[in-house]
Amino acid sequence: MLAAIAQRVARRLISSIPALLGVVVITFVLMRVLPGDPAVFFASGPSAGKQEIEDLRHKMGLDQPVPIQLAHYLVDIARGNLGNSLTTGQPVVQDMRRKLPASLELTFTALTIALLLSVPLGVLAALRPGSLIDHAVRMLCTLGVCVPTFVSGLLLIYMFYYVLGWAPDPTARIDIFASTPPDITGFYLIDFALVGDWNGWWAAASQLLLPAFTMALFVLAPLARMTRASMLAVLGSDFIRTARSLGLKQHRIIIAYALRNALLPVLTITGIVFSTMLGANVLVEKVFSWPGVASYALDALLASDYAPVQAFVLLMASIFVMVNVAIDILYGIIDPRVSIE
């Protein structure tokens, strides 16, 4: 069984290489087609003249034809070198190593919150379709989708930080006056837990709560609506009727029989939601000064800083592939009848 799964994963990963390569090439070319010359942008000091711009272009290799630049870039990637960021002045790999855990931690927390809220809400709504609860859930979901994250984020900050003073100041991953945990995994919650510093853990967690809630609100709708729809379908099916007629306990019917069978589409949606969250949480990262990959990539894009943007797209594509593989494996665990081949 395990061997079969490993084989399947390996095959999936290998088959995704052409897609990744395509993504790399297309991003590379797109960045160079976009108007805006990075050399001009970065030589914008008070005295930079034509000569400095030319020198910089030469140093960045931009004076060579695009195919040659691409070849150099592919060789670099194969060596694990994603280039240097001009906006931060650091190697992109190093930047990513610092920033990806921040984004992942935020996204995982937000997704957990979203799932903990949306699945019960979806189930409740499905149990009493058309009832007050159903409408309330629908309204909450609509609100979550309609209000852009930067608005809900700023509102939450205004409420919980500025007016009530409950939340810590919404800047970065941990209070600037507190010390950061030792760099083990890059996930603050895990690192603090590993060294047993529970004060630090709480500081990091309280800092994480507002941005995670902001993001969770936004993805509540697809998850809750999908849970409701697939629960409705399952609840109307024969085996539930049989279970009811056999007099099984209500919660056993709902959780063990109905929910487990209804989870497959929810899982699919969760995979998609996770990938989009990771890339699209740039607004949340900006509002909460969260040092994540998305805001990093946006800053780079605005400055025509090629290397970080290319690395970001490649990273997102790779994560997308991984998430899909993980979801496939989970399918098999939730529903043994499904075996993706």
Binding site: L56, G89, P291
Partner: protein, 537 residues
Amino acid sequence: MKISRRTILLGTTGTIAVSAFPRRGHSQTRAETLRYVTGNTINTLDTTMPGATRESFGLSMNVYDRLFSFGRKKLGDNWVFDAKTIRGELAKGYTVSPDGLKITILLRPDAVWHDGSPVTADDIKWSLDRAVSAKSLAPPQLSTGSLTSPDQFRIVDAHTVEVTLPQADRLALANLCVPYAIMINSKLAKAHATADDPWAQEWMKTNTAASGAYIVESYHAGESLILRRNETWKGSADGKLPDFKRIIIQTVPEAATRANLIERGDADLSIDLAASDLPKMEKAAKVKVVSVPQTNGFTHITVNTQMPPFDNPKVRQAIAAALPYEDMFKAALFGRGFRLYGADWKETPPDGNFPQPMPLKTDFDRAAKLLAEAGLAKGFSTTFAFSAGQSATAEPIAALVKEALGRIGIQVEIQKKPDAEFNTLESDKKLPFYTDGATAWLPATDYYFRLYFTRDQRWNFASWKNTEIEQISAAARFETNAAKYDADCKKMIEVFADQVPLVMLWQPNHDAVMASTVDGYTYQFYRQADFRDLKRT
């Protein structure tokens, strides 16, 4: 209530216990720490790196020393830098030979680098050599002060360096005050130099070899940076150490969040809040707002003088007469700035300072008449561009320009461009008509004219070619006679006012918002906070 010895003891112990555990447990108290929040990032510790952000310049001024520094003066209630007084920073003093060709610089004998080793003439020579030879943004800047070759710097003895100039350049000393002219601990830097990188430029991006008022304690590129005071610093004007022991510089991208932090008292200083928030904050008076016109900058509306129909001075004069100055000033800046239009002089300016208010007034009849004289009575159509990064102020300007020029028959299409694209188009001289801003580090009239109105280079916004300006600005640079220099400057301003290659609008205010306990904020030519001047009252 009876106060016994025991109560007192208990109370004292309690107080000590509480005060021994300050809120967040670090060695300096919150009062001795300044937390500065900014929307931008510090991307390098070496300011001469291409792409260095303005925040990096600001940091460098606090971490590195230069040989000299500008003084400061009062403008109204506020402090601004004063480029006319130059004092020693790492230098103790200097003498200039009568012909102006030789500057002898005397170093502070007791100055030390952050690692404790003494500052020597070798270090200074190496730093100056680096500033004129390494491939960076420093050489073009220093060349504006006739500093171009290592041969010009000579070590006289352990604490004396001599600078030789080919001509008596008015800006040679001033160029040693700018953020590019950092003085570096050469032994430390050389230890990290490689054959490919003889000036240790890679290493210095993330490390410092400095002697300045603050020492970098931790640096997370793009997030935060913590400074601690250098207790052995000697470079201040009054010989005292700066007031703040610790500085936290933090990047907070969202302006609304920065405003919240300051208002809640969690942060102490920010200089890039949204202009629309400032009047409200001033009124609420919970925080202190220091507003100073950017005395070395200007916002302008420019045409490309090489593109028809803007190659005709009459067309330019017509546009200058049609612009709704006061409306733009109110709409774009809420009146927060210094007007560079509406002056009453004709032909000759009252003095040789620049930028100064120009005799520009809204007069549609005159505009229509000038346009007719240019043979374009029916008008024409053109585009008006601005960069997205400046849209808060440029968008209202663009709308008002479009409306006003429509009245004299000029059809304007507004183009909002992403910053990178706008910069490229501007640099390639492909924009016919646009708005932008500029600040010069060295506010000398001849420098402005050389930088912004001559030569085929990026900062000649209007691509203006005028032989008279070229000749006068080239000569004025080396003019030692003050009266003659002043006459040259006036003449250039006269030609500029007549030909209007670009229209000066205003100097926007530099707005620094700080906790009400913070005092001494100075507007600096590099438009960043100088932590050395700040104190908590």
